[in-house]
Symmetry: C3
Subunit: 317 residues, 3 copies
């Protein structure tokens, strides 16, 4: 694990929430709260990134996370460029770094990277010049740290605390960067009980998610919890789990209103999106009063503004 902080202790890169000190996570959440506005109200605009250049390097042009980062950067006054690139650390590692060096020489300050391969983010972060920062917008199944932060912020807004909460993470945990980053954040922030609910074949390997109780039954897994974090299921993963089709998945692991009643009455329902409605979550639950799914998205922009501001501010004057 590489050092994400500068020698002066400020955040430089954000690649993972694993091992990030509680105070640092809390500081980012506090900073993010400044940027949260209700949907329908004007978003915050500042000039704190004036003169700064942010490059979004995504393998697909149209992801929602790209838009969230793009708007976060623009609303802080940054110049933004979007590139659709397939980074690859293995065979063509050096040519990948040449792309990064080229952007760095164009005075790009912040690299926002999404990549399906592990290790690309860290490789880039370990090679850019001291003034530059790398922010992960998703790394394989490993990490999605801004998602972890926005999930934590959403829980905090709803519950006003982390200690004593019971959280269930439900679905294809094995392949989920969302689950891993949430687990890192919530564990550090003091959530008492995190449960993993998944078909056997989609359980994470034994060594991971230490301390989490594991459930193969959704009904049992969510009983009495405060927070239900649903994950997206890919069709090909149902096969892995020997679940014949979407209907059968919904019967076993889909969150219906009936099932939701097993959680605490004031439990909140989360989903990182995009949702497979009717497969991992019923529409009436996704749109129901316990759902905070739109809050997650709204908090996503705020969290990304906070992270961008933090890494630039931390460079010093």
């Amino acid at each position: 694990m590489m050092e994400q902080n500068r020698p002066n202790g400020t955040l430089r890169h954000l690649l993972t929430l694993e091992g990030m000190p509680k105070t640092q996570i809390e500081a980012l959440l506090t900073r993010a709260r400044k940027f949260v506005r209700p949907i329908g109200e004007a978003p915050v605009h500042t000039h704190s990134l004036a003169g700064i250049t942010v490059a979004n390097l995504f393998t697909e042009p149209s992801t929602r996370t790209r838009v969230s980062f793009e708007l976060a950067a623009k609303r802080l006054g940054a110049d933004v460029v979007n590139l659709e690139v397939q980074l690859s650390s293995r065979v063509k590692g050096e040519s990948m770094l040449d792309t990064i060096y080229t952007l760095e020489a164009c005075h790009v300050d912040v690299f926002v990277i999404r990549d399906a391969e592990t290790g690309v983010h860290e490789l880039v972060a370990s090679h850019v010049k001291p003034h530059a920062s790398v922010l992960s917008a998703g790394e394989a199944h490993v990490a999605h740290p801004t998602q972890g932060l926005l999930d934590a912020l959403t829980i905090l807004q709803a519950k006003d605390r982390f200690d004593g909460l019971k959280v269930a993470i439900v679905g294809d945990v094995r392949h989920s960067r969302v689950a891993r980053s949430a687990w890192h954040a919530l564990t550090t922030l003091g959530v008492a009980e995190i449960r993993i609910v998944a078909p056997r074949a989609l359980m994470p390997p034994a060594g991971e998610f230490a301390g989490c109780e594991r459930f193969n039954s959704l009904d049992t897994g969510i009983t009495g919890v405060d927070v239900i974090m649903m994950l997206r299921i890919q069709k090909e993963r149902m096969e892995t789990a020997a679940i014949p089709d979407a209907d059968r998945y919904f019967q076993k692991f889909g969150l219906s209103a009936e099932r939701l009643a097993k959680a605490k009455p004031d439990a909140i329902v989360m989903h990182p999106q995009p949702m497979n409605r009717g497969i991992e979550i019923a529409s009436d639950v996704a749109d129901g009063p316990q759902s905070v799914i739109k809050d997650q998205v709204r908090n996503g922009v705020a969290v990304r503004m906070a992270v961008l501001e933090a890494v630039i501010e931390g460079r010093g004057p």
Copy 2:
């Protein structure tokens, strides 16, 4: 048909010109005129959309209409994000709306949508929160309202009136959203006589374009008119019309200089672009003194600035 106006009577969505009151169309044209500058002069820049976020959702990244909307929004000071998305209202209606909700939660105020399917625009408009607006940048064969407005503005600039004008719409009217929006606008604005000129197979269904005289001969159809609106013909539609090739199409429905002489001497020639030169229109006509085709494009940016400004201003302070 859904309500496009807010309860306070201001324009909220622009999905169609059908049924829009004359005074409202006139007000948009008046507002647009403020933004018109001759090609080669500096375009108007304002801050009236400062803090506002516009999302362009197009199925193709490189359309001219996207650029026109993008520049309109930027010149009013808005933040703009482009997404290349395939929206679909049928099977995946809810997942489509989730994309919209995500953008809404990112504080997108205006959704500019082009889609090949009918009904997507209205579905989105009926689901976004009260502060958000949906502007159609083209809907199947049904509507292209900003095109209709820019066509009306172009005619007004050239003729300084609508009453008493004779207008011929020529080509594949059946499949044309441009023709439909022009017809809605011009009818409301008081154009006395609108003629449809098309091969039999490309005539609109009987119930549509009420009150328009229909012509299968271009020569007859444009005789004595003040305005000729040419439409783009798709190759596959020639087959539908049993016209063997482009040459033959030009012979029967192409606007040559010779034919143009049958219209009034001061008739203007319009085309929504992109043109098939030598197929539906001769190059010397497209570039000739009676052509106002470039004016249409220039007016397009002005009309889009007007519509953007109107829908935001109408939200009130």
Copy 3:
């Protein structure tokens, strides 16, 4: 060759460096130097292009040159739109120009065009209105004038002069627009000796690169030179040159540290990127103390800012 200057002598288009007067090249380099900042320092931001609109027309969305132009324009305060278009001057010449006219009617002031076909740039430049400018971002194998300028600037920064320098251009010179623009710039600026080093099959035709000595041996070709400009080799071109594979190419025409020792001790190594490390250049050379490859990229943004500022400033008040 079309006139690139306005009647008042200011630069209007930049399509080629061929025939550009020495004073004009020097003025652009001087202007560019104002914009150069060390990598890691804040780039220059001005408002000199406020109100100006720049359209980037590239055949591929993700080229580094597009990003360089985009950032140059944004840092001068321009509005920028990106279009991915396949221009083609031959059959569809007029439809290509219609795209340009459409953008012009949207008040685009500067067209930055990259195209794989010769002649497109000149065709566009000869048809746009007097206020508009065309900047080549690469034309087939013919010209890449901003690359030529940034190469000249990089040499000037390192050597502080042009006269008396010996420069070797190495690799697939035959198909290289980089080589041609460098040759035009350096010849005009007074470089005494330019050498072409290439496999026989990749030598330019006899009439081109007049006055350059030609070498088929890299060792001989770079002996005693001040500047080595390496070019990118395409795999299919190795076949043309009857070189069986990348290893063999490296043995014959790859710049290794050992070979570099044949040049002057203070010789600089350049490459336009993207590099094939281990094929035309060894990694330790690309990253070594004599490499100025990152300086080239950094200078690229500065040169593009200078050119953009010059063509707009030259329009007069």
